[in-house]
Amino acid sequence: MNFILSIVVSSLAVVILVLIPWIGVGALDLRVIFGILVPYAAMATFFVGIVVRVVDWARSPVPFRIPTTAGQQWSFPWIKSNPIDNPKGNTGVIVRMIFEVLLFRSLFRNTRLEYRRTAEGMPKVDYEWEKWLWLAALVFHYSFFVIFLRHFRFFMEPVPGFVALLESLDGFMQMGVLPLNGLGLPGVYLTDMLLMMAVTYLFLRRIYISQTRYISLPADYFPLFLILGLGLTGILMRYFIRVDITAVKQLAVGLFKFSPTVPEGIGVIFFIHLFLISVLIAYFPFSKLMHFAGVFLSPTRNLSNNSRFKRHINPWNYPVKVHTYEEYEEDFREAMIEAGIPVEKESE
């Protein structure tokens, strides 16, 4: 599929996903379906799907270590080794995994290959410093995480302390949305803006770099557009088309207490937001979003490079019939001595 068609298909899918609850709640008033049944179905799909996928991965054998390392292996004491990038034991692996999961270290090492000709006409390959993808990815993931944690003020009653801390840190600039009267409240969160900027950058980068554009599929654009839609509906709901958030919290807490109710007076925009997040988490186990769990199972990151001193046996090896040299010599010793071939053990 070419990239224009991919973008059209995936943005059309998001538009339809916005229209479904808009019509369903706005015109047909199916509040129980969109407020209770859809979120429960999405959560069930999410949890069951993640367990099935991870158990499936766990059943795949990892027959050998894959040492894609960026450091010197441990060998002799007088050769300086890199215990984190090329770990020989569990401690190094744990440190490497922490760097990978929390700081996206392998993405940080990303370089851009550039092929050019020098002034003399000689071809030259350069590896350029390229950190923007890492930076945007880090900003995107942490903003999403903070926004998710901030939503716990809707999920939990009483509201736990970390939410207040996050909100005060996130909104410490006390910015207004626009320099107009009445639009300065509620305070603007840094993560809201950072998330939208990062998602936009990741999308533009995808279509700007020709190689990335070539390998991009609807499955790459769709999550970006879905998250963009999710962020837009959330921002709209907070600043422009407000809903009664105490009623929203009653609905959310009711879902988590398994005594769901749909209080009166929640605007359609909330159901659009809820439907988009439901689709996102239901889509999770079937998509590339599973890197959320998959990053912990990256074989090149979570296995120590100990192949040189620990034997890893391929679990699907069938028993091979072997004929060792000792047995060979045992069979042919007399003939070998006769022909003058040296043997390890002289016959008695």
Binding site: I50, A58, R59, E157, G182, L185, K249, Q250, G265, L297
Partner: protein
Amino acid sequence: MYDGGKIIAGLIIGIGLLMSPFFYNAGKAAKEPERALTDKAKQAKQCVMDKAYMTSSHFSLLDEWRHTVVRDGERYYKRADGKVFYKSLQVTCMDCHSNKANFCDQCHNYMAVTPYCWDCHIAPEEKK
């Protein structure tokens, strides 16, 4: 399963964290905020704007009042139907809604909102 113990342990921790709202809320009485109106507020029937607007966007109105009073010196607000209000949190709003604990704080605590009104303004003394 290969490394099954570690993977299952990680899976249980991860799923457990994601399901924490279920565990956290379980067995707790869901206390919903009950806004109490004073007699004076009940008699007035309508606030500055209609109820839906006041519930969701009262802070926008207060912010607009703050800007126009502090920057432009406009102390009076004329509603579409001609009724005039003196723009003041302490004098106008808290005159009817003199029960801050049962009116303001109920929902603000429920939603973990910490408005900075009372950093500068003096909260009305409540009659016990």
